[in-house]
């Protein structure tokens, strides 16, 4: 289920801890990349690479929560697992609210670590897939003409071609042509598929003018 190239990024300013966790994940077959400084990690971060980050909460340069915020600010939604030496409730709540996958207390058991990484991989895969999908839908929608886009909004609102034509001030045949081209451009066959796609793309149905 792991994507090829899924990498676990490790950020900890304690070299011994960094080395040992890297070693453990490597032994279990995870691909890792470790950073002993949060700045180093931030500056070389590539959101395109699938993977998750394991970040120490307490670091001298930049603490974990700030690093998480810095990542979010760059537009990345890379899943994050926090490691902490002490159970810090307020920090963990903040971290989870900001979308952290897990908050693990050191010394960490390997099962907990592995399962957290696996969950993070899932989260990453899902979000990556969703991002890809919405990206292609957006691209397809952008090829529609203004009229085709209008027709789309009426169709997903459940109007009949005749009603659409009346609303647009045109004839039913013209609406049929627009509708056929629009469906072809978006690559859907049924109205049900169209509605699902429009929903994913965030397109609202046209307001009904007729009661």
């Amino acid at each position: 289920m792991r994507e090829a190239g899924f990498t676990t990024f490790l950020v900890d300013d304690d070299p011994a801890v960094l080395r040992s966790i890297t070693r453990l994940l490597n032994a279990a077959g995870f691909k890792t990349k470790s950073f002993s400084s949060p700045q180093e990690f931030l500056s070389s971060h590539d959101p395109a690479v699938p993977g998750c980050a394991i970040i120490d909460l307490v670091m001298s340069e930049l603490d974990g929560l700030h690093l998480q915020q810095a990542l979010i600010d760059t537009g990345s939604d890379r899943p994050i697992i926090f490691l902490t030496g002490k159970g810090d409730i307020s920090a963990s709540v903040k971290a989870m609210k900001a979308g952290a996958v897990d908050f693990l207390t050191k010394p960490v058991q390997r099962e907990a670590l592995f399962s957290a990484v696996k969950r993070a991989a899932n989260v990453d895969a899902v979000s990556r897939q969703r991002r890809n999908e919405s990206k292609s839908i957006g691209e397809r929608i952008s090829t529609l003409t203004h009229r085709e886009r209008e027709v789309l909004e009426y169709v997903i609102a459940g109007r009949l071609n005749k009603q659409i034509a009346a609303s647009l001030g045109t004839v039913e045949k013209t609406v049929k042509v627009h509708r056929g081209r629009m469906m072809a451009k978006l690559g859907v066959r049924t109205v049900a598929d169209l509605v699902r796609l429009a929903d994913k793309a965030g397109i609202a149905p046209a307001h009904s003018m007729v009661g």
Binding site: A16, S20, L24, K86
Partner: protein
């Protein structure tokens, strides 16, 4: 007359009835009148016993003088009034004319009044003749000034009795001599008798016997010395006249003023008595001349004897006062567990109060000397104490030392000794004077306080570690995490076969390293936790600071504080207890961290510097950029229970200060010029 005016006044005040005072005064006045009359009768009697002499003094004047001297001036009129009928009754017997009688009374009263008035003004008061000043004043007034003055009037008595005015000078001289002699022979013994009437019964029997013996021997000596028939013929008069002298001196030396006035009275008595019996020592021709010669002889004798008695009385009194003072001081010193001592530098004599025996566990009766006392000192303290005493005495320098002393029971107790040199008039030290004080209870209290301080220091250390527990736990968690992860990785690799042996070897190396790291943390913590004895050793202050910062590593990171390290290279070792010094460091670092809670994280910096002081000691400064010390309270921070923290106990800095004091160092806090505060602590060079 036996009731002195002040006593009467006191009694009057006590009973609250002034009339009783007057009743006693009245009774005394009657006694004076009777004595006045009897005195006159005795004088007349002497005059009738022999045709060669008459009384060489006039006793009524002595009676009146003594009465006035003993009473306040406001009562004098009463005594004079009482004496007048006695005077009239006596003088009428010899058929004295009224004018002569009145003039005689007036002059008699005047000499008594002038005497009493001047002497009271000159503060001639009991104890009579107790000092040379008093005796000189008495002789000056009663034997010279007063009779000489009044004699100008007294001379007229003779003229009024039919004497020629041409003989005025002779009459003046006679009147003078008679009154001066009365004041010198009868008044002193009378005054002393009145004064000591109450205490006579307390005089030891032996002393009373001695007094009577002296009087008897003197009387007998005078009896043989004062006879004209043999002595003049044989030419021994001057030699024999000096015969009573040794006895006079004996009496004066042994009995002071009382003895002196006593011998004067005895000599006068024997001389008069011998003359009455026909042994006229001063047979000049007529009776007047004989008596005058005798008067001059007795006046000349009495003055120096009275002064001698007074001088001896004064010396003896001074001795008594000194002895009593010494006894009082010794008693007071002993009551407060202090023994006094003095070491005479020239004579090497040693004096000490009896309490020194108690302090040094010596039985009473053992003669005291410095060596005997010092030999009681605990063998361990003896060399130091002995050297200190020796050096102080040799250099005549102040001494202050404490040592243990073998008590009379088996235990040892603490004695503190202090001494200082006593300087003579020439500025050279003549003696060392000092005190030994029992310091056992103070030493025990000090030990108790030390123990409590130690206890509190430990509690503070533990509570501080409690506050830092989060950061400290993290210091342990890190190596434990590394160990666990390494071990788990190792297990996975082992399951994968032998191809991973090199990596497994690395894993073991890391596990060992991390285990040691955790062990070090625990070792440091255990040192701070335990309540050990203070152990002084060479301490590398830079290393101690580094180790403290390692302990605080996580706490500093958690609080986003940067450490700026300005430690000196080649810092000499300090002498101290590493645990206690680390406690001071920890406390100062925690204070600095707390002070910066309100500062923006990017500016939270603690600067730690070490340096060598001018004396070769070590100077450590821990500087923050926090809120600084509250104004005008820079000294309050060392007072127990003063705190600026919400949950502070206010004991941290006082404990740190006491630890530094224990190390002979100092701890101070001051605000920085720009912001924050700096804690400075200094340790003396190891050999200081």
């Amino acid at each position: 007359m036996n009731v002195l005016a002040p006593d009467a006044a006191i009694e009057g005040r006590r009973s609250g009835a002034p009339h009783e005072d007057w009743a006693k005064t009245f009774r005394n006045a009657v006694i004076v009148a009777v004595l006045y009359y009897v005195g006159a009768e005795i004088a007349f009697l002497i005059g009738t016993l022999s045709d060669k002499i008459f009384a060489p003094f006039w006793p009524p004047n002595v009676v009146l003088f003594c009465a006035l001297l003993l009473t306040p001036p406001r009562q004098w009129w009463l005594y004079i009034l009482a004496a007048f009928p006695a005077h009239v009754a006596a003088e009428l017997q010899i058929g004295m004319p009224a004018t002569q009688l009145l003039v005689a009374f007036a002059t008699n009263c005047s000499v008594a009044v002038v005497n009493a008035f001047l002497l009271q003004r000159l503060q001639f008061d009991p104890p009579w003749f107790g000092s040379i000043r008093k005796a000189t004043a008495y002789v000056f007034v009663a034997a010279f000034v007063s009779p000489a003055l009044c004699a100008f009037g007294g001379a007229f008595v003779q003229i009024l009795g039919g004497g020629s005015i041409e003989n005025y000078g002779v009459y003046w001289a006679r009147w003078y001599a008679s009154n001066a002699l009365g004041s010198l022979t009868l008044s002193p013994i009378a005054l002393i008798c009145i004064e000591r009437m109450g205490s006579f019964s307390f005089t030891p029997t032996l002393r009373r016997v001695e007094a009577i013996l002296v009087a008897a021997v003197l009387a007998i000596t005078c009896f043989f010395a004062f006879k004209e028939d043999t002595s003049i013929a044989s030419g021994y008069v001057p030699a024999l006249l000096y015969l009573p002298l040794p006895i006079i001196v004996w009496a004066a030396v042994r009995f002071g003023a009382a003895g002196a006035s006593g011998v004067i009275a005895v000599i006068s008595f024997v001389l008069i008595w011998r003359t009455l019996n026909g042994h006229n020592l001063f047979d000049v021709g007529n009776a007047e001349a004989n008596v005058f010669a005798m008067q001059l002889f007795l006046i000349g004798l009495s003055c120096p004897v009275l002064l001698l008695g007074a001088a001896i009385e004064e010396t003896r009194h001074a001795e008594t006062v000194t002895r009593e003072r010494e006894e009082r001081i010794s008693f007071a010193a002993a009551s407060s567990s202090v023994g006094l001592w003095q070491y005479d530098l020239a004579g090497e004599g040693f004096w000490a109060t009896d309490y020194c025996r108690t302090l040094f566990g010596l039985p009473s009766g053992v003669p005291l000397d410095l060596d005997r006392l010092l030999n009681r000192i605990h063998p361990n303290d003896f060399p130091t104490a002995h050297a200190a005493f020796q050096s102080a005495i040799t250099r005549a320098a102040p001494l202050e030392i404490e040592f243990r002393v073998q008590g009379r029971d088996r235990g040892y107790h603490w004695v503190s000794a202090r001494a200082q040199p006593v300087f003579g008039d020439d500025g050279n030290a003549t003696a060392m004077t000092g005190a030994f004080a029992d310091a056992t209870s103070r030493k025990m209290a000090e030990a108790e306080a030390d123990m409590q301080r130690h206890e509190i220091a430990h509690l503070m250390r533990v509570s501080m570690l409690g506050e830092l527990s989060g950061g400290l736990a993290h210091e342990l968690t890190q190596p434990l995490t590394a160990i666990l992860s390494n071990a788990q990785a190792g297990k996975i690799l082992l399951a994968g076969g032998k191809k991973n042996l090199a990596e497994i070897d690395n894993i073991f190396d890391d596990i060992i390293t991390e285990d040691n790291r955790a062990g070090e943390v625990i070792h440091r913590l255990r040192g701070l936790m335990k309540k050990g004895e203070i152990k002084y050793e060479a301490v590398d202050m830079n290393e101690l600071i580094a180790s403290t910062l390692r302990l605080l590593h996580s706490e500093l990171i958690g609080r986003r504080i940067t450490i700026k390290d300005e430690k000196a290279v080649d810092l000499p070792p300090a002498n101290g207890d590493p645990i206690q010094l680390q406690q001071v460091l920890l406390n100062l670092f925690v204070n600095a961290m707390d002070a910066m809670a309100g500062v923006a994280p990017s500016r939270r910096t603690i600067t730690v510097s070490t340096a060598v002081t001018d004396e070769g000691g070590i100077d450590v400064r821990i500087s923050d950029c926090g809120m600084g010390l509250p104004r005008s309270q820079e000294h309050s921070v060392f007072q127990p229970f003063f705190t600026t923290k919400k949950r502070g106990l206010g004991l941290g800095l006082p404990i740190c200060a006491s630890i530094m004091k224990l190390h002979g160092g100092t701890l101070s806090l001051q605000n920085n010029v720009s912001e924050g505060a700096t804690a400075i602590f200094r340790l003396p060079p190891p050999d200081a």
